[in-house]
Symmetry: none
Subunit: 206 residues, 4 copies
DNA sequence: GATGAATGAGCCTTCATTCAT
DNA sequence: AATGAATGAAGGCTCATTCAT
């Protein structure tokens, strides 16, 4: 009883190669050859576990999105204070992005050529990614908050993703704690921008 | 001296075709054939004005980033109130994204296969895009604002991009005014998240 | 006004390469590379004129079947005597087979994987091939002939094809006149096989 | 002394799978996977009994040609009347073709890529197939019959094959008795085509 | 300058064959 | 003996790029 779920291991091995390459190159520019090399398997082996490059891609997204859902569940378990919850959300997401960066960007791109069946699976992935954070914000935001919860979730998610990606892309080291602090400060303070009727010349409000 | 700047016109024609196709498909999935068709020129003609598909792509980014810079300059001209400036920035960016969506996403992706020279040009583009908004925020944010200005600019830009892209991608109509309102409300209010030491049960801070 | 119908020429060039290779190898074993080489064009060029290997194959059949129809029309024009007509039919078919041998065999094979649209085109080809000869036999056979006309046409066609193919396949030189004579003799004499009620023991009848 | 000839059984099992698949798809389009599945063995097992797909194919032909030889021997045993012999030959062949259709067609195709050794074995198969029927016709045809015996055998074989294949391919049910009747009628009557010098108007000879 | 037919390198995918179990 | 996961060479097809007109 030596190797449990050998098939699953091989599958995961391929998914990791796929993640590395798709993340670096995007879908279209990624070559199956390269994925196979990263995964340490032969090209043909990939097709034993996935029916096509498209299927591999969607499967990867599905896999990784489940994992972010689980991560959130785990991290947010037992937290009460909105601020702590928010901080945990941000930090978890940053850490997650550091692993899966570009992959998540790609999700939004229009995979227009994919057949309907795969488009459906892609839609499910996108919805589930949104759902996790929307859920968190619906617990945090006050009932009279003037912006739609899903909208807030999207903006926060976009803000964090962009910042992380820029840092990573520039080859900068990312200090998760410090970055979380900055994002939190931004989210909590908002952007002080003066009253609408302020007279010209006044630059600062708060 | 018959047709002045005929070359420039032809060049712009091609850039427009390129923008349409790159925006819809991303870099790798875009085909030169299709760009030529969109532009209404023969495929070979493109190579009279650009040395390669890569060059065409970078050139397009350069061109369009200048244009967003110009747009901002124009729009923000003479505005004084931070709130009005911010609103104008948001609205301009939303309108811009509605035209150039995917194109901007692509900017962040690492065009890893591009030769060094083009990588340099890409870097310049990215820096200039950041600079425009960073500049705006440096005028808006109070001196003691606890978050780095460039960081804020990135987050706002990411937030707006993500929200616009999601709406567009879902095929929803985008009401620029309404969306601007929502983004502004979010930016100004921030995310009320309670004090760090707040006892459980307290939801709102501000 | 030098090159009339250059496109048609190139197309025909490719069809000739295709015929050579499909005839020699059959459909599945034929490689597009090889067809291109035979035709003296690059692989990609083939796809400017035909949408796929399957399309190329069906198009070839269509092309060549029209040509056998035309050949028959031309050859049989003005012939009156049934024997002369029959002889002409046989000879024409032999000559035709010497050029298109295996190709015609393949027509009957079940191209089961082809999409419906191409199956339709294949069916049309097969029907048209049968029609030509069925038509000839309906003019030759007496009204009270005990065998269905289409059936006779098929058998004669099968008999001739098989004989030609065997000779060609064995690398024997084919003397068209002599072979036509033999086939004619066979068709006219039939196979003398004795009366049905002959008593056992009688080996020869005539 | 457990299982006598287990190896032979397994071998026959594989040959049956091979026959089913080669018959339906032809040589090149047949996949070893599918043969294994039809045979109910693992893919690797096939290579314990046959050294390659090519070997399996040739072996199958050899096997089945022996079987048609045996069939003929058995069927024709004790028959005396040429007509009865001929009828039996036709009927046996039709029944055989209904089982092995495409397989036989394929024999004629030039397996050009096969190595010399296998080409030799293929040649032997083809010769033996011809020999069986040539032998029968040499017993049936009168000594002064004007057509070469092997030639007649080929033509009859081609005629029957073609007719059977067309019916099968069109999905029509094949009534063996009725078809045998038609073929016999054709063979015995021949094609009445008038004398060579016949005056127009005379249609029938016999 | 403009064209678009032609090219061929390179990609996704298949499948005969091997080999560790 | 039997398995079937793994392999990798080879095939169909695409598409950036060139060049004769």
């Amino acid at each position: 009883m030596s190797e449990p779920a050998v098939g699953q291991e091989r599958r995961e091995q391929i998914l990791e190669g796929a993640e590395a390459v798709f993340s670096e190159k995007g879908y279209a520019a990624a070559r199956v050859d390269e994925i196979a090399e990263h995964a340490g398997v032969a090209k043909g082996t990939i097709y034993l576990y996935f029916s096509s490059k498209q299927d591999l891609f969607i499967s990867l997204l599905e896999e990784r999105c489940c994992s972010i859902g689980a991560l959130f569940q785990e991290q947010l378990q037992g937290l009460r204070s909105p601020r702590v919850i928010l901080r945990s959300l941000i930090e978890t997401r940053i850490r997650f992005l550091l692993r899966h960066i570009t992959l998540f960007q790609v999700v939004v791109q229009s995979m227009a050529d994919f057949p309907d069946e795969l488009q459906q699976r892609l839609l499910v992935v996108r919805r589930s990614v949104q759902a996790v954070e929307t859920d968190v914000f619906s617990r945090i935001l006050p009932p009279d908050y003037p912006v739609d919860t899903g909208f807030v979730a999207s903006m926060v998610s976009g803000a964090v993703s962009t910042v992380v990606m820029e840092r990573v892309h520039d080859g900068q080291f990312v200090d998760v704690e410090a970055m979380t602090d900055q994002v939190m400060a931004f989210l909590i303070h908002g952007v002080p921008a003066g009253s609408e009727d302020c007279q010209a010349g006044t630059n600062v409000l708060f």
